[in-house]
């Protein structure tokens, strides 16, 4: 078994790049974990599509207020300075370029910045939610994901094969093996696990990895 980061460690790494005071939307599911790993002294303001800025953690079981939920329909709490707003204002924040960062999960990411994260094909009931809106407008659209699928197939590709969520929208990918920027239609490697050779990483990536400068070690704490 080759080394790789856990989901918590991927989320931790992504959290290190969120500035104090940043307005951030975390996709439902795995990306929500990023909120737990904000560096000490920094406080981001989290946005949820259903109309809250500056919500906090889940309340203790039994204390839920079901009018106070996040996009994943989970009960949340408010931090001082929170605000409520309706859905059109909420998505004005999204598409209008007011969010600093959106962090989303992915089935596939292409070197062009295309993202596929909403549908695995025509079977079953299709559901898109706010994913197609969120990939447009945030100043940075980052993806957190395992580097490969459960079957070992690359998730970073020249072109996505699954239905697209958005075109040319992803700017950075945090994976279980590396941190990769998308620049000018190319994957540019910034960090990788020290135990992993460039060749081994390239072999698990479905598009060419480019180097434009030194590659740092991807180091995260045990979590």
């Amino acid at each position: 078994m080759s080394p790789k980061l856990s989901n918590a460690q991927i989320a931790w790494r992504a959290a290190q790049d969120i500035a104090d005071g940043a307005y951030v939307n975390l996709g439902i599911g795995f990306p929500e974990m990023v909120a737990k790993f904000q560096p000490p002294g920094r406080q981001a303001i989290f946005h949820t599509e259903n109309g809250i800025l500056n919500f906090g953690e889940a309340p203790p079981a039994g204390d839920e207020d079901w009018d106070l939920i996040n996009a994943g329909k989970k009960a949340v709490t408010l931090k001082p300075g929170a605000a409520f707003f309706h859905h059109a204002d909420s998505f004005a924040m999204v598409r209008g370029g007011h969010l600093d960062v959106a962090i989303l999960g992915a089935y596939q990411v292409a070197e062009t910045g295309d993202l596929a994260n909403w549908s695995t094909g025509p079977k079953g009931v299709p559901a898109v939610g706010g994913a197609m809106d969120l990939v447009h407008g945030a100043k940075r659209v980052a993806v957190i994901t395992d580097h490969v699928t459960k079957e070992g197939a690359p998730k970073l590709l020249e072109r996505c094969t699954l239905p697209l969520t958005g075109v040319g929208c992803v700017t950075r990918v945090y994976t279980s093996l590396a941190v990769i920027d998308i620049e000018d239609g190319r994957f540019v490697l910034r960090e990788k696990l020290a135990a992993l050779t460039f060749e081994a990483l390239q072999a698990q990536t479905g598009a060419r990895l480019h180097l434009t400068g030194p590659v740092a070690d991807l180091t995260v704490p045990e979590l």
Binding site: W66, D67, M132, H136, L164
Partner: protein, 239 residues
Amino acid sequence: MDKTIATLAEAVSTVADGATVMIGGFGGSGAPIELIHALIDRYRATGHPTGLTVVNNNAGNGHVGLAALIEAGMVRKLICSFPRSADPVVFTERYLAGKIELELVPQGTLAERIRAGGAGIPAFYTPTGYGTELAKGKRIEEFDGRPYVQERWLKADVALVKAECADTMGNLTYRAASRNFGPLMCMAAAETIVQARKIVDPGAIDPETVVTPGIFVQKVVAVPDPQQEETLNRAGAVH
């Protein structure tokens, strides 16, 4: 001018067969459970209304509220962004059996289409969905070098909305994050029917705090202790 209606049954008595009905709420937050159940009760007693097109963010959860409306067989078509939930069995079975039509709309586009409907804007351009299968057949235009998708307004015959406090003139406040689609739907429907925990005299709501001005509201009915979809589902309720 008093927009107060005495009973839930009377409030929903005008909803016609084939109507487009916007229903407020995001999941259970803001879902007007009592208005929906009154509509179902009327259908069970009279066979009307049926063949409805429903606009909501979701497709119901469990066997109460919107899910119960679908389960009763009153909904022909659903326009929503996310027809999944903790217990989506009612919609899923009907959809996979071809018994209900689905128009899937990205959430922000859904909100803006409703807002546009209420604001008299027939179409607008958004970056959302460009290059995806949800933009197929839609007009694309470039602005400042970027491609955008044309989307059309969405209007309704009726909106069912849950508010916290209404005055008798229809001015509304909402509770916590339950407003979500409510203020937009109030604007976009020919007849907006509101259930409010409290109905007060004109002047009792500070004009500074009114979220939905009464011009967008036609009927208000008091529901002093509204049920929460999540709580009903945890108790295994079925309507």
